[in-house]
Amino acid sequence: MSTKTNIIQGDIKKRIDTWIANYPEDQRQSATMPALRIVQEANGGSLTNDLMDEIAEYLGVPPIAVYEVATFYGNYNHKPTGRHSINWCNSISCYLRGGEELRARLEEKLGVKPGEVTADGKFSIKKVECLGACGGAPMCQIGKDYHENLTEEKLFKILDELE
């Protein structure tokens, strides 16, 4: 199989190789997650099937093994995102603490639903499973940062302060 993209070269290749070197030689598959992260970053925040195929070929694993990982974790995006991507926790603790009502307010404010990007390209929302911060429920992740114990006021303030 030869893939249609050629993103793994130069600096990107070097960064992935550093991760591969962390594992035994016959376990290149272990670098799937960092490779996905690095490639996603280089591609402006989301992945495509062709990019996943390229990663699979580079690591020497079947493409489906990469799809499995890339579709399991909420931090990989399969659609273009806004400049600030909001990962909204959809699991039980946040749900019990009003996460769903709060998300409705968020959708109203931004005028988009999960999976969509605002017209100005600034924000996108995505529903994700438990992010392991149940103690601070309800919570969400914006870019790389967690924001916990959210209220409407607190959430809107964070959004307003973002560039």
């Binding site: 199989m1 099937n49 079947p62 493409p63 489906i64 093994a65 799809y67 499995e68 579709t71 399991f72 974790y73 499973e129």
Partner: protein, 700 residues
């Protein structure tokens, strides 16, 4: 050994055995979905929860090792409550569409739900729906029925060695599939149908044709390769509806190749020949057996004294081949052969060597090193390839000397460069000879490379090793030379030398001497004969199909025992006698290990077709030959039961080194072109393995 108590019964077990295996051994039922004895433990369905004393939570029996003094209850209120809860949970999103589901009647979910399910669901919300995928011509998908046991995924990863299905998404959005639109192409894919405990993966050709409880099961032996997999033929009203594997740990375990599973489609093909036919003044006429046989015998009798060519498919039964050669020799013809794809017959001068594998099929797993010479084993003998794959997972080194690199499903070293097979094999043999101080004259002008030396070393150091010649070697222009080189390599590395029988009964054909001891071989006969007596063969079975077809056409008289009617056969035959296919006759195949495996008739032959052995018996009598008064296949078999295989000193064949690379002359055959039956199985014909180009290039 430890002692465990299950439901009050004390059982001895090996420490570390899983509870479910111990319970199975003692026939104590524990419900399960994801557990399968041939796959790794996933413990993801939780159906097997049992109550273990001292454990606060119920434990999954499939992933709980037994310890001494363990006290287990599979039927305590706590165990039953957990099992029922899991059942209810699994059914939440299941469509419960059993009346329109093909799995109905043989569904593990249905069975377990009978025991552990409630009759009314408490779930009133909308169920999730998963779109069906097009997984190719063999497997039908209804993914809403999937319970995510991942058996199919693990089969691909662990057994087929080709991960095509995976679990994408998460939680409520988890789906089993290929993620991108793609067919499932493994040559073993049909096994996923058996493994799937529900109706998510079902057989496309079988789908909607009958309900499983209407089927009658018959034991059988698969008729397309020399493994001799054990099968069950399922029939309804004397029609073969499907074929499934029958467990045999020593041969096919619980698996079956797609070729052996789906070839049955051709039994019910439109172009079956159902009436004896004769050509009268250039016109074909259906007739009765008596007339047809009379015409056949008279025609052949006229040809007696001239060159009569007698050839048969190596997928014929031992009984059929024995009787056919007996007739041939009875009427004075020694032109007898089945090797229609061989081109180099020079080794025949020394006699015949019965192909086979001395190592038991199951023990191929225990090899430390194997050299394949001219073989895409994965497509030639899929079951043997699985065993070899297991050996590689335990660290065995496999080297393949081939005309080109193939997509094997395990790690191996492929030697397939422009030097050609002869030169590459010679290099390897030379390295082994050097290491052993053997001055083999054949190798005098050969030099071994460093890689050859490393490989030879690995073979010498291996405790168990085999050098095997596959189908590509056997159809190579330098077959005798390759055999001689392989023999030298095997001798100096202390390896078993094996010429792999490919078709179902090549070994049987050798045992009954269906070979031209003093006559013409298949290639010579394909150049032209006065008359032909053919059984189960078509021009497409020959390396040069055009030449063979022409030879048949030019012959003065052709009697064709065939299960199929075709334009081509009508052009060259003078009499066509309709014969039974594998599930329609009793007989015996001798497999790669020399096991004589007899089977009974599963269904009646179509139309007026008759088992070929019966036709031959009558022909023998009509020729007034002695010893054709059989009443049962057993009597035919008894006659050849003591026949022994013959071995040749293959290291002493007359063959000289050649410098030419003849690899490009090899005519490769795709697995689904190997015989008249698979060529007519429509579903197999839609897969990549139906032709050489896609077999070699079309898969990942």
């Amino acid at each position: 050994m430890v002692k465990v108590e299950i439901n009050g019964q004390v059982i001895e077990a090996h420490e570390g055995d899983m509870l479910i295996d111990v319970a199975d051994g003692a026939q104590i039922p524990i419900p399960r979905f994801c557990y399968h004895k041939k796959l790794s433990i996933a413990a993801n369905c939780r159906m097997c929860l049992v109550d273990v004393e001292g454990a606060w939570k119920p434990l999954p029996a499939c992933a709980t090792p037994v310890t001494d003094g363990m006290v287990v209850r599979t039927n305590s209120p706590k165990a039953i409550a957990s099992q029922k809860s899991v059942m209810e949970f699994l059914l939440i999103n299941h469509p419960l569409d059993c009346p329109i589901c093909d799995q109905g009647g043989e569904c593990e979910l249905q069975d377990v739900a009978m025991d552990y399910g409630e009759d009314v669901s408490r779930y009133t919300e909308a169920k999730r729906v998963v779109g069906d995928k097009n997984a190719g011509p063999l497997i039908s998908t209804d993914m809403t029925r999937c319970i995510h046991c991942t058996r199919c995924v693990r089969f691909g990863q662990e057994v087929a060695g080709m991960m095509e299905l995976g679990a994408t998404g998460r939680s409520e959005w988890m789906e089993i599939g290929t993620y991108v639109e793609k067919s499932i192409d493994s040559e073993m894919s049909g096994n996923m149908i058996d493994l799937c405990p529900v109706g998510a993966l079902t057989s496309k050709p079988f789908r909607y044709t009958t309900r499983t409880w209407e089927l009658k099961a018959h034991q059988g032996i698969a008729a397309h390769d020399s493994i001799g997999s054990h099968i069950q033929v399922h029939s309804k009203n004397d029609k073969v509806m499907r074929v499934v594997p029958h467990e045999n740990e020593d041969i096919n375990e619980v698996w079956l190749s797609d070729r052996d599973r789906f070839s049955y489609e051709s039994i019910n093909a439109e172009d079956r020949l159902t009436k004896p036919m004769i050509k009268v003044n250039g016109e074909w006429k259906a007739t009765d057996w008596e007339t047809a046989l009379q015409v056949a015998i008279e025609g052949l009798q006229k040809a007696v004294g001239n060159d009569i060519g007698v050839m048969a498919s190596a997928n014929s039964t031992t009984e059929e081949l024995h009787l056919l050669q007996k007739i041939a020799r009875g009427i004075g013809s020694e032109n007898i052969d089945f090797r229609t794809r061989q081109v180099d017959f020079s080794a025949d001068a020394k006699g015949f060597h019965t192909p086979g594998l001395a190592t038991a099929i199951a023990d191929v797993e225990k090899q430390d090193a194997v050299v394949m010479v001219g073989s895409y084993l994965r497509k030639e003998l899929p079951i043997l390839n699985l065993r070899l794959r297991k050996a590689t997972l335990k660290g065995a080194k496999v080297i393949a000397v081939n005309p080109q690199a193939f997509k094997f499903n395990y790690d191996l070293e492929q030697i397939a460069d422009d030097n050609g097979m002869v030169a590459n094999l010679a290099g390897l043999a030379k390295a082994a000879a050097d290491a052993k101080g053997d001055n083999d004259a054949l190798l005098a002008n050969v030099t071994a490379t460093d890689t050859d030396k490393v490989n030879a070393e690995a073979l010498i150091n291996a405790k168990n090793s085999i050098v095997m010649l596959g189908q590509i070697a056997q159809s190579h222009a330098d077959y005798a030379l390759l055999t001689k080189l392989a023999a030298s390599l095997a001798k100096n590395t202390d390896s078993e030398l094996s010429i792999l029988p490919i078709q179902a009964n090549e070994v049987g054909a050798n045992l009954v001497n269906f070979l031209p001891a003093n006559g013409k071989n298949a290639a010579q006969m394909a150049q032209g004969m006065d008359a032909f007596l053919l059984m189960g063969l078509e021009a497409a079975d020959f390396t040069d199909a055009t030449q063979a077809g022409q030879a048949f056409k030019n012959a003065g008289f052709v009697v064709n025992l065939t299960a199929f009617d075709s334009e081509e056969a009508r052009q060259y035959s003078d009499v066509m006698l309709p014969i039974a296919l594998f599930a329609e006759t009793a007989g015996t195949f001798v497999n790669i290990n020399g096991n004589k495996q007899s089977f009974k008739m599963s269904v009646k032959p179509q139309g007026d077709a008759k088992a070929a052995w019966k036709v031959l018996r009558v022909m023998g009598n009509m020729f007034n030959l002695a010893g054709f008064d059989y009443t049962h296949t057993n009597e035919v078999l008894r006659e050849v039961l003591d026949n022994r295989s013959t071995t040749l000193a293959l290291a002493h064949l007359d063959a000289e080194m050649v410098s030419a690379n003849n690899d490009s002359k090899v005519v490769m055959v795709a697995p689904y072109q190997m015989d008249a039956m698979v060529r007519r199985a429509p579903s197999l014909q839609k897969t990549p393995d139906a032709n050489v180009a896609t077999m070699v290039g079309g898969q990942d």
